[in-house]
């Protein structure tokens, strides 16, 4: 690592007495955890042992040692490096309290320098907890009746909360895909390995013909939600939808975008994830500008697709199609998304309003590349979506009758 190019910058005296060294390492472990690096306590023991072997003479070696033992996720590397720099610079031989504990504040956002890269986001309880709790209480007594056909945009806060809980009850079953694993079955191909095995067990006599089929697994879902300003009236409800989806179906990857694309899968999976994500959305708004769907999809295709588009997922794009970017780029990137998925559904909340026609440039460019164009403006439309997904079975574009 180039920042360690000028070596023996002694971070600790070579003959540092062991208890102090151990103490420092434990403290560093705590700082890492506080900064949000997923370290594992057991590895601390290894780290202490390893430092003994490697020595504390070279900063670069020490960084490599601690990094290889305490970090096991690529996305944690920048955090680790920041924490290492702060800790082992500010941290002379004597004082070990001041700068660390400022770092040790809970769940601090550490800004990333590389633009375009997936952002790291903190998980912090929102300030409007009280408001949420109040709304929660309302819903709990079911005093609010929610119309299934009322537009989300017209919901009151209490209705939103009640609707949110109704959303959590929808069961999402996004069809199945065939895996390459075999499983025993009554009908299907003859299970040759088992035929042979049984044959041998029974001394060469063939008594029955066991059969097998390819096992089926739920199809993964990839959700790309537009959270730009024009989607504001729907964002909150749609994030709840995304969070319910993530918790009910097994393999869901979710992303939000306005001008930039951010992965929020991990946050969504947590209880109350939608609240964390709405903070993310606010942050995204801070970046300003309108939606650039094509650019967001481009980032998705180059940075994330290889990792989240395995096994032919169903892709859901939620957007009103108001696009400030280049429609040609949008068309091209969308075509690429479609090639790698089994089914591409565009959910547009505006499709629910009478008289809406998809005339925006973005929507026009998109229509040629999607399998289904569906509304997402009220509870009924989301229930329809759930039913639609369930009916889909193992369909892929190209081999389907229209559903």
């Amino acid at each position: 690592m180039p920042r360690d190019a000028n070596p023996p910058d002694r971070t600790m005296p070579r003959d540092a007495d062991p208890p102090a060294l151990v103490h420092n390492l434990l403290l560093f472990g705590r700082v890492l955890r506080a900064a949000g690096v997923h370290t594992h306590r057991e590895r601390m023991v290894d780290a202490i042992q390893a430092i003994e072997w490697i020595g504390v003479g070279s900063r670069a070696d020490m960084r490599a040692t601690l990094c290889s033992l305490l970090v096991h996720r690529h996305e944690d590397l920048p955090l680790f490096n920041d924490a290492f720099d702060v800790f082992f610079r500010a941290h002379g031989s004597s004082g070990l309290d001041l700068p660390l504990f400022s770092l040790g504040e809970r769940a601090r956002v550490v800004a990333r320098r590389d633009a375009g890269a997936p952002q790291r986001l903190d998980v912090e309880e929102p300030a409007d907890d009280a408001a949420a709790a109040a709304a929660f209480a309302l819903g709990a007594y079911s005093t609010v009746e929610v119309s299934r056909t009322k537009d989300f945009a017209d919901f009151t806060a209490a209705e939103l909360e009640a609707a949110r809980r109704l959303l959590l009850r929808i069961r999402w079953e996004p069809g199945v895909r065939r895996t390459r694993r075999w499983t025993r079955a009554r009908h299907g191909d003859i299970d040759m390995p088992r035929v042979l095995r049984r044959n041998v067990m029974r001394g060469g006599e063939l008594i029955e013909l066991p059969r097998r089929v390819r096992r089926e697994a739920p199809r993964p879902i990839v959700l790309l939600a537009d959270v730009s300003g024009s989607m504001d009236r729907y964002s909150r409800m749609l994030l709840s939808f995304a969070s319910g989806l993530t918790r009910s179906a097994r393999h869901v990857e979710s992303f939000v975008f306005a001008t930039r694309l951010t992965r929020v899968s991990r946050h969504m999976a947590a209880a109350g994830g939608h609240r964390v994500v709405s903070r993310v959305v606010r942050d995204l708004h801070d970046w300003g500008g309108g939606t650039r769907i094509g650019d967001a999809l481009r980032t998705f295709n180059t940075t994330w697709a290889r990792r989240v588009m395995r096994h032919g997922p169903v892709v859901l794009i939620v957007s009103d199609g108001w696009d400030r970017g280049d429609p040609k780029l949008l068309g091209r990137e969308l075509a690429r998304v479609r090639r790698r998925c089994s089914w591409l559904i565009w959910l547009n909340p505006l499709l629910g309003s009478a008289g809406y026609e998809p005339l925006t440039r973005g929507m026009q460019a998109a229509l040629a590349h999607i399998d289904d164009f569906m509304p997402a403006h009220n509870l009924a439309s989301l229930e329809d979506l759930a039913a639609h997904l369930k009916r889909m079975g193992s369909a892929r574009h190209g081999n389907h009758q229209h559903l």
Binding site: A50, A60, H72, T179, R181, P193, L196, N199, G203
Partner: protein, 302 residues
């Protein structure tokens, strides 16, 4: 059996030297984790984009430690019969027929005879355990991200016990744990439980100096000037916004191709003609070919 236990380099420097002896350039950031994995006897988990030389680490390490390399290539649906062991049923059936023809079948005796090592097909994980009777081998579990989660679960168990139980034969244990190297292209997240057991190392694309040294040592026919230009161009190309960046082996293939074409210097024309060796995605090639090649070349040779 005479056992020659594995000797581990005494320090990171010694390890670097041993790897260097196999024409492999390992900077400290990589040598330290390898060394720690050896000392701690933990699996080494190497992650990085395709083509940064992860598999190479295992090959070179086996050579440097003078031990054998056993490789398990992962794929979706990989199961115990392909990863650990399988009985050779066709041979067993033949054997049954032969016993029948010979002497009439004595069931108990036949079963005993049929389920012996002679009829066992040993797959990489079992072979790695057995090999430790001679000397701990390097066990390369390549592209774990391609296997499904079921296999990861099995692997977790294997890595903690280093033993395999075959109901008909008994339990086979490692005399000492093999040196395990797991690689992942990160096409999906590998479960934390597995990664936590390992010494983790992220391998980035090499910087200019490292890649230049790799080119000169692997493509000796390339002139110094060509090697410099090739490396600079590839480095510059990796910063372009592409679906699939060129890996080290692409650099080497390209350099070798240019040597075969008797090229001593890069120009836009020859790059256009040979771009297919560097970029394997048609859209990437289309977006770079022509004008952009010139710009990138200008920046690279600046």
């Amino acid at each position: 059996m005479s056992r020659a236990p594995l000797s581990i380099p005494a320090s990171v420097d010694a390890l670097q030297q041993a790897l260097g002896g196999e024409q492999y350039i390992a900077e400290r950031g990589l040598a330290v984790p390898i060394y720690l994995a050896l000392r701690l006897r933990r699996p080494l988990f190497l992650e990085g984009e395709a083509g940064v030389g992860k598999t190479e680490v295992a090959k070179v390490l086996a050579a440097a430690l003078k031990t054998s390399l056993i490789r398990l290539q992962c794929y979706e649906g990989l199961d115990v019969s392909q990863a650990v062991y399988e009985w050779n049923y066709p041979r067993q059936l033949l054997e049954i027929r032969m016993i029948e023809a010979d002497s009439g079948l004595d069931r108990a005796a036949a079963t005993k005879e049929l389920f012996t090592e002679a009829f066992l097909i040993k797959r990489p994980l079992l072979r790695a355990l057995e090999e430790t009777r001679e000397r701990a081998p390097v066990l390369l579990i390549d592209e774990i991200d391609r296997a499904d989660e079921e296999f990861e679960g099995y692997l977790l168990e294997f890595l903690s016990d280093f033993q395999v139980t075959i109901p008909e034969l008994g339990t086979i244990r490692a005399v000492e744990p093999p040196i395990v190297i797991i690689t992942s292209n990160r096409t999906r997240e590998v479960h934390d439980a597995l990664k936590r057991r390992c010494v983790y190392s992220w391998i980035p694309y090499p910087d200019f100096d490292k890649e230049y040294r790799i080119v000169t040592s692997k493509v000796p026919g390339a002139s110094e000037r060509l090697a410099r230009q090739v490396t600079a161009f590839v480095q510059e190309l990796r910063t372009a916004d592409l679906y699939k960046a060129a890996g080290i082996s692409e650099t080497l293939d390209w350099a070798a191709a240019l040597v075969a074409l008797d090229r001593d210097v890069l120009d836009a024309g020859v790059i256009d003609e040979t771009l297919g060796l560097l970029l394997k995605n048609q859209e990437d090639i289309d977006s770079v070919r022509g004008e952009r090649v010139g710009t990138i070349l200008a920046r690279a040779t600046a």
